[in-house]
């Protein structure tokens, strides 16, 4: 059963045609990893899924329901779709705990005590139980990103979107964030991940999707896409990025 489905999605930024007839389907529990060069439309596609960008054409279908951004309450969709950003975007004026309990309390009206209890459990899960009262500026990038993941999880989303979650991190901090994401994948979370971490894609992804110039060029199991790419553009891209990894 597909949790999210995209049909003939088109998105323009002015005259730039950023997404061209994109079709995509992600099943419940699946981990899909989007790869491709900068500007290929990966992040734009991800941001269309929770309507941070409004596609001009096409449909986004979540849990069997076509989402109409003009009529549907997008806030209801966004409660079910968590997002983790490249630059963390933690709220700097709130402590770690406040960051996590803010949306459950204000949006879902979860009682404060219960929200705190859940937040503590989430912080424990991402390995930051000792940072409850810290402020974002006191944390390393890797720690901030793990808090951001906990913040998104606090809404009990059914789908998690990761937009280059490790691209802004110092190399030595990438591992701790990927570890949390791997654990999440093992627990069965449905995830769509935009990343340049080919190792993560190979190890964790159920499916790798290669995008180029706003189109999905090729998709398949990681072993197949990485070892036997069918399209020349995929081969070109992989030869350029894997040069650094293998």
């Amino acid at each position: 059963m597909s949790l999210v489905k995209v049909r003939n999605l088109n998105k323009w930024f002015g005259r730039l045609h950023a997404l061209k007839d994109v079709n995509l389907e992600v099943r419940e529990g699946e981990v899909a990893v989007l790869i491709g060069a900068s500007g290929s439309g990966k992040s734009t596609l991800l941001r269309c899924l929770n309507f941070l960008e409004q596609p001009e054409q096409g449909q986004v279908i979540f849990d069997g329901k076509v989402i109409d951004p003009r009529q549907d309450d997008l806030n209801l969709l966004r409660r079910e779709v968590g997002m983790v950003f490249q630059h963390f975007n933690l709220f700097p004026h709130m402590s770690v705990l406040e960051n996590i309990i803010e949306a459950p309390i204000m949006v879902k009206k979860v009682p404060r005590e219960k929200a705190i209890e859940e937040a503590l459990a989430l912080l424990h899960k991402v390995g930051l139980a000792d940072k409850v009262d810290a402020y974002p500026c006191q944390l390393s990038g890797g720690q901030q990103q793990r808090v951001a993941i906990a913040r998104a999880l606090a809404m009990h989303p059914r789908l998690m979107l990761f937009d280059e979650p490790t691209s802004a991190l110092d190399p030595e901090l990438v591992g701790e964030v990927l570890a949390v994401m791997k654990q999440l994948a093992r627990e069965g979370m449905t995830m769509i991940v935009v990343t340049h971490e080919m190792g993560f894609a190979r190890e964790v992804a159920d499916r790798v999707i290669f995008m180029d110039e706003g189109r999905i060029v090729e998709e398949g199991e990681p072993a197949q896409v990485f070892s036997r790419p069918q399209k020349s553009r995929t081969r070109d891209f992989l030869s350029r990025v894997l040069w650094n990894f293998t």
């Binding site: 929770n50 941070l52 806030n75 209801l76 966004r78 409660r79 779709v81 968590g82 997002m83 950003f85 630059h87 975007n89 933690l90 709220f91 700097p92 004026h93 803010e102 949306a103 204000m106 949006v107 879902k108 402020y135 500026c137 951001a148 913040r151 998104a152 809404m155």
Partner: protein, 216 residues
Amino acid sequence: MDFLHYLVTSIPFFIRAAAVTVELTATALAMGMVVGLVLALMKISGRRFWRYLADTYITVIRGTPLIVQLFAIYFGLATIVDFGSFWSAAIALAVHNGAYIAEIFRGGIQSIDRGQMEAARSLGMSYGLAMRRVILPQAFKRVVPPLGNQFIIGLKDSSLAAFVTMKELFGVSMQLASTHFAELQFYTIAGLYYLALVVLFTFLVNRLERRLKVES
């Protein structure tokens, strides 16, 4: 010496007048902040209508002198609604300062990283909730210095209320100056009181600024 004599004997009058000035300024600027916030939100709104309306307001209000606005409200509107001198002055000052405060708030709001709004929205928060809980608290910290500056201007501009019979610092000094035929002395004394208020206020703003800096 005349000056010291006047300075000391006028203390009871000026203290009362200073209290009126502070009350007038505080009332006006509190209302001006509300005006400014509403205008700022209109200016960044997605609806062109609200943006044009706010732009028109700001253009007109910034483009005309405060004394003209004050007289228009106090004398001009008197036939329709009589606000009295205090509220006429308070409204005029609020209307006037609101236009400047709007630009200060708008700048503050737009200086907050776009990712903050996106993160809040991605968690299911509505635009209004995200503004109130995430954007405005951060923006407010950043606008404290320019806002303090605008408050100082507002405090001094409140002296124009003397021309609609308010007995605040400047109004009292005009009265005392003419009854005692001592213009130089009393206007100097009035200036000293304004200076003292501004220095005191600046001190408070600096302290607030330091405290906010420690918090973040």
